[in-house]
């Protein structure tokens, strides 16, 4: 199964993520997002961070999750590649992300993501699993 595809939208860019389970969709949304920032082949899994987010809806949780990862990139230069979802409900998510410090010499520089938005936001059951649409402000 495809992990994600790019959503083309005027001015910005989004990810449509796929997965057999809701956990997998959240994981693939993050992989899709990281791949907008740089090519993930060049990213090593040397360091890991723990993420814990909450929200009052499943859609809101997706936004909070991705914004948390954007925060770690923007504030601490952390770029992830391997994601393990440790615990998840409709309102709460705990995960472990493996990656390394972003190095402008070594990593290709693609898009600067300001935030994950509520624009056209969707998390839903699909024919064979789950799907999510998320648009990023560039």
């Amino acid at each position: 199964m495809k992990q994600f595809e790019i959503i083309d939208i005027s001015g910005d860019v989004g990810i449509k993520a796929f997965g057999g389970s809701i956990e997998e969709v959240f994981k693939n949304s993050a992989i899709g997002m990281y791949s907008l920032i740089t090519d993930l082949e060049g990213v090593k899994g040397e360091k890991d961070i723990s993420i814990s987010v909450e929200s009052n809806s499943l859609e809101g949780l997706l936004v909070s999750w991705l914004n948390e990862l954007i925060f770690h990139f923007d504030a601490y230069n952390f770029i992830g590649k391997d994601i393990v979802i440790l615990e998840m409900s409709d309102r709460k998510l705990k995960a472990n992300v493996k990656g390394e410090e972003f190095d402008t010499e070594r990593h290709g520089r693609k898009l600067l993501l300001k935030a994950a938005t509520y624009h056209r936001l969707k998390v839903e059951k699909a024919r064979d699993g789950w799907e999510a649409d998320i648009i990023f402000d560039i």
Binding site: I6, D8, I9, S10, G11, D12, V13, I37, T38, G60, S64, N67, F71, F73, D74, A75, Y76, N77, F102, D103, T104, H107, G108, R109, K110, L111, L112, K114, A115, T117, Y118, H119, I135, D137, I138
Partner: protein, 481 residues
């Protein structure tokens, strides 16, 4: 296909009537001529109509000719709200709080620069941190970040980045009062620590330009512009600090919408009554981010000035490199306007729209009191940018607002596809423009064809009388993120 309900008012305006959508409290007005009407997306018209449903909106929900669809509010949008009945919405400002433009003049002529352009662009590219993952030369402690939030560009000058005299040539003096560092999240503090004095990416840039046409001699003279002269334009905002403030407060506003029972056609219009603590807290945090952005453009200007002095081995006096003006184009401000013949305080949201105050306005520095506020409109990297001045008509029609740029026409992905197999930097070089960018795909995304022609946009606001053309600037060297 646009709805038949839209009515053309005159050559430069279309009305979105108040029965266009249920719940509209006022009509919408979009400033477009027949040429730009063809580029108008129905989604952005819907967004203008949606904003017209918000409580306490005054006059009309407006959009400028560089309109394109955004989140909730269209980009290019202007909406003013009553302080008693109205609301404040972070979506009406955007993620990049106080994204804006600053223009510097020099005594240099185009011919002084062109023979050495490549080297000059290279030096500026090295001096000004830009692009994804770049960190600035400044590291802020929490204490210095607090002072920065409260003092804006003044903080930068006090730290040695620039001159006190720069401050009067910045909108709001480079510091908007009422910022509260205690309302800023730990995350925003963290994101802000290493990003002061950085350009960012996307459509942000630093550009070496020359004046290639003057339309209004008297105003150009007052501003200090003449044909053939070299100028530098800086376009950036509050960086990750502002993005985090917006992200934080969108969550607050989501909750406020249900708390205050506000009915919204689109959840991205999330807002709170002006007088509520949620709205006041957002405004205090937004002001801190606006001040961060003014300091940011001040630092970048300072390093640009130093690099020019070094490169041309000259003195500040000889170089004559001084600030013309600095405008915010993503901001919400309390301003006084005339409504139904009476002076009234309103909260004006400008999202992708530039303030354009008229001659005589008390907020303008002495040098511009007679001609009106300089309005700086950046175009795409291959065509042109413009200097205009604000007018009385802007004050009476658009709450003292005008357009902010060219407006995107192509998605980033479309642009990248269109640029495939082409060397955009070489195409630009053939036109005499040297470009440097940190991002691999930035040049493709930002190529001229991806944007409306800024000349068309500026012609509409000029014809509509909501600002007046003064000069056209052509790019020579461009640094992108």
């Amino acid at each position: 296909m646009l709805s038949e309900k839209l009515k053309r008012i005159d050559d430069t305006r279309i009305e979105v009537p108040s029965d266009y959508k249920p719940g509209m409290r006022v009509k919408g007005i979009i400033y477009v001529d027949e040429v730009l009407e063809k580029a108008l997306e129905s989604q952005s018209v819907d967004q203008v109509a949606n904003v017209a449903t918000l409580p306490g909106i005054v006059g009309a929900s407006m959009a400028m000719p560089d309109i394109h669809s955004g989140y909730g509010f269209a980009i290019g949008g202007v909406a003013a709200f009553d302080l008693d009945e109205g609301v404040v919405s972070p979506g009406g400002v955007g993620y990049d709080i106080n994204c804006g433009v600053r223009l510097l003049r020099t005594n240099l002529m185009k011919n002084d620069v062109t023979p050495k352009l490549k080297d000059l662009v290279g030096i500026l590219y090295n001096e000004i941190p830009s692009g994804v993952g770049s960190k600035g030369k400044i590291r802020l402690t929490s204490e210095s970040e607090r002072r920065l939030m409260l003092n804006g560009a003044r903080w930068a000058v006090e730290e040695g980045y620039g001159e006190m005299s720069d401050l009067e040539r910045i909108e709001s003096g480079g510091c908007i009062a009422g910022a509260d560092p205690d309302l800023i999240s730990k995350k925003a503090y963290e994101r802000g620590r290493a990003q002061q004095g950085t350009l960012g990416s996307g459509n942000h840039f630093l550009e070496i330009q020359y004046v290639d046409e003057i339309y209004d001699e008297k105003s150009a003279d007052a501003i200090g512009l003449f044909e053939g002269q070299v100028t530098v334009m800086i376009h950036t905002g509050s960086r990750g600090f502002g993005h985090q403030v917006c992200t934080d407060f969108l969550e607050v506003m989501e909750r406020a919408v249900s708390k205050y029972n506000i009915e919204l056609p689109d959840r991205e219009l999330a807002c709170a009554p002006y007088k509520s603590s949620e709205a006041q807290d957002y405004l205090s945090a937004m002001r801190a981010a606006a001040n961060y952005a003014w300091a940011n453009r001040q630092c970048i200007m300072h390093w640009t000035r130093e690099a020019f002095m070094d490169f041309f081995r000259t003195t500040p006096r000889e170089l004559g490199m001084s600030l013309i003006y600095d405008v915010a184009h993503n901001i919400a401000k309390v301003e006084e306007h005339i409504v139904n013949g009476r002076k009234k305080k309103l909260i004006v949201h400008r999202k992708g729209s530039t303030r354009a105050f008229p001659p005589g306005h008390p907020d303008l520095p002495g040098a511009y009191r007679k001609i009106g506020q300089p309005v700086l409109i950046p175009g795409d990297m291959g065509r042109a940018s413009f200097v205009l001045v604000g007018t009385e008509k802007a004050m009476s029609e658009t709450f003292g607002s005008t357009c902010h740029g060219a407006g995107r026409m192509m998605s980033r992905h479309q642009a990248i596809k269109k640029a495939k197999g082409r060397a955009i930097w070489r195409e630009m070089e053939d036109k005499g423009i040297i470009v440097r960018s940190a991002g691999r795909e930035t040049l493709a995304e930002e190529m001229s064809e991806a944007y409306k022609d800024v000349s068309d946009v500026v012609d509409v606001v000029h014809k509509a009388g909501i600002s007046k053309k003064v000069a056209r600037l052509r790019p020579l060297g461009v640094i992108k993120g």
